[in-house]
Subunit: 313 residues, 2 copies
Amino acid sequence: MSRRRILITGAAGFTGRHAVNYFAAQGAEVIAVLRNPVAMKSPAFDFPQGIQTYVCDLSDRKAVAEMIKTVIPEDVLHLAGKNSVPESWQNPLLYMETNVMATLYLLEALRILPSCRILVAGSRLKYRIGAVLPPHPYSLSKTLEELVSLAWRTLFQQQVLLAEPCNLMGPGSSTGFCSLLAGHIARSENGVQQAPFKVSSRSALRDFLDVRDAVRAYEYILDKGANGTIYRIESGKERKLGDIAEQLLKLTQAAVPMVWGSETAEKPVVYSEPPFTPEEEATALGWSADISFEQSLSDIMDYFRVGREGGWA
Amino acid sequence: MSRRRILITGAAGFTGRHAVNYFAAQGAEVIAVLRNPVAMKSPAFDFPQGIQTYVCDLSDRKAVAEMIKTVIPEDVLHLAGKNSVPESWQNPLLYMETNVMATLYLLEALRILPSCRILVAGSRLKYRIGAVLPPHPYSLSKTLEELVSLAWRTLFQQQVLLAEPCNLMGPGSSTGFCSLLAGHIARSENGVQQAPFKVSSRSALRDFLDVRDAVRAYEYILDKGANGTIYRIESGKERKLGDIAEQLLKLTQAAVPMVWGSETAEKPVVYSEPPFTPEEEATALGWSADISFEQSLSDIMDYFRVGREGGWA
């Protein structure tokens, strides 16, 4: 069997870096797509030897077409995109251009490769069109990204898979709750004076999954997923933010300044989609999470203690 | 009362030219937006004196923002867009960029003018998301244009109105059935040898409305429409294509080469939207069609007999 040639967009991102490393370790020929060549010079940039990189601004339609013609991928893992709700309020068009149009540029370019499979990473923050109004531009953009991906598949007979992961955690540069708190703890361990870390609602529930498990789920979906299906990827266990924070704080001897918010849970996030069927869970493809929550927290702490993020001066 | 300052996009199009003339005749200050200044040199370009024109490529985000800042319109009638199903198969991204993103560029630019009302001209060829699959890229683009327009209204508290006109007919440059046959007849009257005009299905039903009545409906909607409502504009009378053709042919003495297709009606167009309520009809605002079908056909024939289209050599 020849090596799988996989194009990974958003390769410099939190999930992207793990994906590049994982697929390379599996023996795949990985082409890591970066928007900015400067990202490669970051100290946190640790791609193994032999990874090909391709610099492409995915919002440049012609550049995307040229990239696909040049690389001729067998699989595409499309992780690139903007994912900050506050930023989406500041620059909503950027979210439409990056999350919707850039995905379409990829799909359109892939029409020359009808057997190429593309996995588009979606979001649980999508809204249900027709049932509720979009809560923020980010939600609108991810909802439309999914919609247009499935539409292009229908119109042009493409191989399109979608994934909706829960909250991802793990070592690496992330703006997720666990990483923010771990960085705060590591800075406290190093004697950095800093404002208290605020846990706004201790009882808010979140399903966290290790990013490395999510990347393996993407592999299952690319290998075994049914064309046009949206797969949910989750640990299946919801945890309270307060409990997660306390578990992380047990990993340190340092005094960590904290502020605990009201015990009143935030308004629960309404997933306004109809219930998913068991066939739409990544577990239906044989995938399951391997990395324990405790291991994941410990690896995150290690990541920040090594200080690769430059988290403290 | 000061003159209404209305920006009309797609001003060189079939509906756009009528809209410019109509609103100017009503005493409005009209700013006609053209993509291509060459359009103004066309012999068919007959804007009255005193119309301001503004050349802007609506797919240029910065140019759109600059235009809105410069013009400061009180109303926007957004008629620009691509509307050919076959062309949408050839260049689907162009349809997404023109019908979806350009509309968003307008809406985003209009955020500096919260009291400005924008009427976005939609299409009956939209599909119902979630219930059916998009039949062609044009349908996808018009469906999303409507969706994002309403989403922007919700997210940014804008004044957004939508209209879904039925088939429009009338004097002017149009690719509609009546105009195509009228041009064919006029050329026959002038002795032009040409291939027969094909009426593929005599029994196919269409609701045709005069474009000038539709423009008046747009005025009603801009003046009286409820924010966020999609208004249907129609004559209320469906006619068979074969009957329409025969009625046009009665207006000539010339021998007109025709081919009549099978009597079997085409597959009916399924309007997969839930039924509209009476409040969502333009008639609910006091509008009604004024121009008879016969008058409209006669005006179309006159338009082509004058030969302004250069329809014959």
